[in-house]
């Protein structure tokens, strides 16, 4: 599974805002230049971005393996016609699928190289005021709570299997598992909100100060160039 890994690569040293801007610019450029030439240039760039995060293309693709069937089925089904296989239509959809793959690879580099606290600070920089504070704190909570809830569901599933749950209908099993999951989650929510109040939960906690460094300048210029390239 893809997640943040501490390191000292080029991508790790960039400001999170730079990395977000570069990703968005890459998406814009990929949608604007869905041609063989454009995508070839963007492939080189994507590989460079992955290298800057010390991430191999294979592990990045493996992390997104669940999206791959969709990307493969798209061109196949679009090419199928009553009279046979239409190569030009399949090729066009294939280019669209490939640009999505490139975008996924670039976002893998961000996920790999950016810790939660920096992402949170970037969110609160981009969305000011209480909505930003809500998004920032909520994001941090989701990171913290997700492993707990996944473990809850896993325990519930093991207990169900030990009690011959496989003999039950699928919707009954779903309901049993989900009731347990929701029950645990609501219980955790009540305890969690009590703990937050006990610790002076505030709208304006202290976050790491974000500063653009010398390295960010070329990366930001690249992002601006990609975004502008969409216009031509």
């Amino acid at each position: 599974m893809l997640s943040y890994t501490p390191g000292s690569s080029l991508a790790h040293r960039l400001d999170p805002r730079t990395k977000l801007a570069a990703q968005i610019a890459f998406v814009v450029a990929a949608f604007a230049h869905t041609t063989p030439g454009g995508l070839a240039a963007l492939t080189l760039l994507a590989l460079g971005i992955l290298a800057s995060a010390h991430l191999s293309p294979y592990s990045a693709i493996y992390a997104y393996r669940f999206a791959l069937p969709f990307l493969l089925v798209g061109p196949l089904i679009e090419g199928l016609t009553l009279g046979g296989f239409d190569l030009t239509r399949a090729f066009e959809t294939g280019l669209a699928s490939y640009r999505v793959l490139l975008i996924l690879l670039v976002s893998a580099a961000y996920v790999r190289s950016t810790p939660v606290r920096e992402s949170r600070a970037a969110i609160q920089w981009a969305v000011p005021g209480k909505p930003g504070a809500f998004l920032g704190m909520g994001t941090a909570f989701v990171f913290r709570l997700l492993p707990l809830l996944v473990a809850d569901l896993k325990r519930a599933r093991e207990a169900m299997n030990a009690r011959l749950a496989s003999e039950r209908a699928v919707h009954e099993r779903m309901a049993l598992l989900a009731v347990t999951g929701v029950e645990r989650a609501l219980g955790r929510a009540d305890g969690f909100s009590l703990a937050l109040r006990a610790r002076c939960f505030a709208w304006n906690p202290t976050l790491p100060a974000l500063t653009f460094g010398r390295l960010d300048l070329p990366a930001l210029a690249l992002a601006a160039g990609l975004a502008l390239s969409a216009l031509y």
């Binding site: 999206a67 970037a122 989701v142 996944v150 976050l207």
Partner: protein
């Protein structure tokens, strides 16, 4: 960003409770993405993510339910492994499943609004036809936006997008709605 240290602006108690519940609902939707059931009609397994969307609307109401789903998408975008198959990153938000993901805040809001109206009351007072109707509308929202997403991202034509992105999965959604009714009618959730 600038850091304020002079004064502390405490979050009021009612909001703390809603923030905690929204965060838990978002995380639960993420945890449901890891639970897959074998499904005879499609080679892809069925996850319970959509159940999390229904529950956010049912338990938190339109505003906080929608906010919980916005939180889910934001956390996923910056790297929490909450999307199907433990995926994360902005790429998932513009990938093949983009339409489905973007529809979640809207769907949770619609389900919450149809079940609760303006004020969030106890779910025991809501009739089963209303629950099922609200969730059916929610499913329609998710699949309409999801199919539009497939067309925009992969360039599929409408019939192909409907076939690969909606028709195969609709029977599984009926199962999830049955499960959701079972959940809100369960004796074990009286505290909700």
């Amino acid at each position: 960003m600038s850091t304020e240290t002079e004064s502390v602006d405490l979050v009021d108690d009612a909001t703390v409770k809603n923030v905690a519940r929204a965060a838990l609902c978002a995380a639960l939707t993420g945890a449901f993405a890891y639970v897959s059931f074998p499904y005879p009609l499609s080679p892809a397994p069925v996850t319970l993510q959509v159940l999390g969307v229904f529950l956010a609307g049912l338990l938190l109401g339109p505003v906080w339910g929608g906010a919980a789903m916005v939180l889910y998408l934001t956390a996923g975008a910056v790297g929490a492994p909450v999307f199907a198959g433990g995926e994360a990153g902005i790429g998932s938000l513009v990938g093949p499943t983009a339409g489905y993901l973007w529809s979640y805040p809207l769907a949770a809001g619609v389900v919450g609004a149809l079940v609760h109206g303006r004020s969030v009351g106890p779910l025991g007072a809501v009739g089963v036809p209303r629950l099922i109707g609200a969730m059916a509308v929610g499913v329609c929202v998710i699949y309409a936006v999801g199919v539009a997403g497939l067309m925009a991202v992969l360039g599929l034509s409408l019939p192909n997008a409907v076939l690969t992105g909606a028709v195969v999965f609709l029977p599984a959604e009926a199962l999830k709605m049955a499960a959701a009714v079972g959940i809100v009618r369960s004796d074990r959730l009286t505290a909700a």
